[in-house]
């Protein structure tokens, strides 16, 4: 679709309004309920394990450039770096997109500073390995072995290199936690990692970690967006069942999609 038609416009406006409304409710002071996601509870524990072993942490943000997915991962880096800084531990972040370096460096510096551990922060721990997928993976595997990392985090967009890295992490005995919104690599993370945060839970991580009202509100808003999609689907298939496939709702969606 090159241009939005009125139906698409209405839907998009309604969905945006829903998310914003819940953000407002939440920042207004109302405590909103969010269920627990097991992998998220494990983040602190995983960092702790690396500290116990006295080994550095490796945090891979995957293949994404500076985009929304990577941004989310970077927020998690901030959280992980903060706990690591408390124990003067290192967080090595290999990246595939040089544009991400300044952002991650900034975030890490801030985290270490907030724990008054500036001296433990080494900007060289944020490493550009290569813009090329497997050169990157080979580099990450190399770091895992050379630095003998104690914990690995895989947060972001991953492709085929995921298994190479996760299996290597398992070999060096690192505690591993993975999260990706893309379903392709989840089975391999399920097989090689100790904790896996699946699909959309990826976006819930920050809300659960920080207890920030904006993020919590937004997460609830997201839920209601999906409820609307679900209701539209239920209405749609009910109409199709009763009236046949040529009903008005199908036409609206057909006019707006593809």
């Amino acid at each position: 679709m090159e241009f939005a038609n009125p139906f698409a416009l209405i839907i998009l406006t309604a969905l945006s309004a829903l998310v914003l409304a819940f953000i407002l409710t939440s920042t207004g002071g109302r405590e909103l309920f969010i269920r627990r996601v097991p992998g998220v509870d494990a983040i602190d524990e995983v960092v702790g394990r690396a500290v116990e072993l006295g080994r550095p942490i490796l945090f891979s943000v995957g293949l994404g450039g500076i985009d929304i997915t990577t941004l989310q991962a970077i927020t998690v880096i901030g959280h992980v770096a903060k706990i690591a800084a408390r124990f003067r531990n290192r967080v090595i972040v290999p990246v595939v997109d040089p544009m991400a370096i300044p952002v991650i460096e900034e975030v890490q510096r801030e985290s270490y500073a907030s724990e008054r551990a500036e001296e433990a922060f080494n900007p060289e721990d944020i490493r550009f390995l290569s813009g090329e997928q497997f050169a990157y993976a080979a580099g990450v595997v190399g770091i895992m072995h050379r630095e003998r990392v104690g914990a690995t985090f895989f947060f972001g967009n991953f492709a085929a290199e995921a298994l190479v890295m996760a299996e290597s992490g398992q070999q060096v005995g690192a505690v591993q936690i993975a999260s990706t919104p893309d379903s392709n690599q989840i089975p391999f993370f399920l097989a090689t990692c100790d904790y896996v945060i699946i699909g959309e839970e990826y976006y819930a991580v920050t809300a659960l970690m920080s207890r920030d009202p904006v993020l919590r509100g937004s997460l609830i808003g997201q839920d209601y967006v999906k409820v609307i999609l679900l209701l539209l689907i239920v209405l749609g298939f009910t109409l199709t069942t009763i009236m046949g496939p040529g009903h008005f709702l199908a036409k609206w969606f057909a006019g707006s999609g593809g």
Binding site: V164, G173, N184
Partner: protein, 304 residues
């Protein structure tokens, strides 16, 4: 079960990775040296691709978008070869094109090789190669309005506004079919920017399951998945290789695939049996001190 057998089984859960690698190489290499006669049953998605290609009228150009490079060549090349061979055989005219630097160049070599099988098939008359272009979004948006004006020249620096094949697609919507082969998520860009263009695609097997929603919604009008997809298409398209045997590039790999798959399944079963046996042993006898850990930690930093 006797304790000796249990112990043997328990040990089978920690076979050295090097033996596994050796077994893998043997299983994959053997059928390449001694071919096994096999039959491939096609999936409906494969048959649908053939029907879609057959339905493209003579005066419409088929675009083969080759978004792969040497990294996924093992899968994408057979997927591209199967369809290009079929197009050449059935006198369909096509254009090659891609957003990955190596793609169109590798596809050109492949097409030249395949064209030798069919006398009279020449570059410029039966196919044209538009080459590689950077910037997916801009190029696709522009091509939706004007193909020759956007691309300007082919890989041989010929003016596309005078190319008879390119004249068949003044804009992308006029294409008979756009067949996209890739191991990347680039197909999503086509879905997003090429509304109204008939699309079909082939992906590496990893991405296969993820593509089925687009097949169900009709956004893709035919789907090949991995080397098996290539072999299936060869089965549907009634391919014969140089020795007269059934199939082509895809078929050649299917013997290795079969043995490789069996190996993986056998190892999963073995690994689980080992764990089960160990548990049985632990229940009866206290664990010895030199118990190997289930996931050996390699402190020497060996092996990647």
């Amino acid at each position: 079960m006797s304790p000796a057998l249990l112990r043997l089984l328990a040990r089978s859960r920690s076979i050295d990775r090097r033996w596994i690698a050796l077994a893998t190489v043997l299983m994959l290499a053997a059928p390449l040296i001694w071919r096994i006669p096999l039959t491939m049953v096609p999936f409906p998605a494969t048959v649908k691709l053939k029907t879609t290609i057959d339905a493209v009228p003579e005066n419409k150009l088929i675009i083969v978008a080759v978004d792969w490079d040497s990294a996924t060549k093992g899968e994408c090349q057979p997927l591209t070869a199967a369809v290009i061979d079929y197009l050449l055989k059935n006198n369909k005219k096509f254009a090659l094109f891609g957003f990955i630097p190596q793609g169109p160049e590798l596809a050109q070599r492949l097409t030249e090789e395949l064209a030798r099988k069919y006398p009279g098939k020449t570059y410029g008359k039966d196919w044209v190669n538009w080459g590689y272009r950077p910037n997916v979004m801009n190029t696709l948006i522009a091509m939706m309005n004007d193909v020759p004006g956007t691309l300007k020249t082919d890989i041989r620096k010929n003016d596309l506004s005078k190319d008879p094949l390119t004249q068949m697609v003044p804009n992308l919507k006029e294409a008979g079919l756009l067949y996209h082969v890739s191991g990347t998520a680039l197909f999503k860009s086509y879905l997003q920017f090429c509304a109204g263009v008939p699309l079909a695609n082939a992906v590496t097997a990893v991405m296969g399951p993820e593509q089925y929603p687009y097949l169900q919604s009709g956004q893709t009008k035919g789907l090949l998945v991995g080397l098996g997809g290539a072999a299936q298409f060869e089965a549907v398209g009634d391919f014969k290789d140089e020795t007269g045997a059934k199939g082509g590039e895809g078929y050649k790999g299917m013997g290795s695939q079969s043995l490789g798959h069996l190996l993986v399944m056998a190892l999963i079963v073995l690994g689980n049996l080992g764990v089960w046996a160990q548990r049985r042993l632990d229940e009866t006898t206290p664990p010895p001190d030199d118990e190997p850990s289930e996931t050996p930690i390699d402190d020497q930093g060996e092996a990647a």
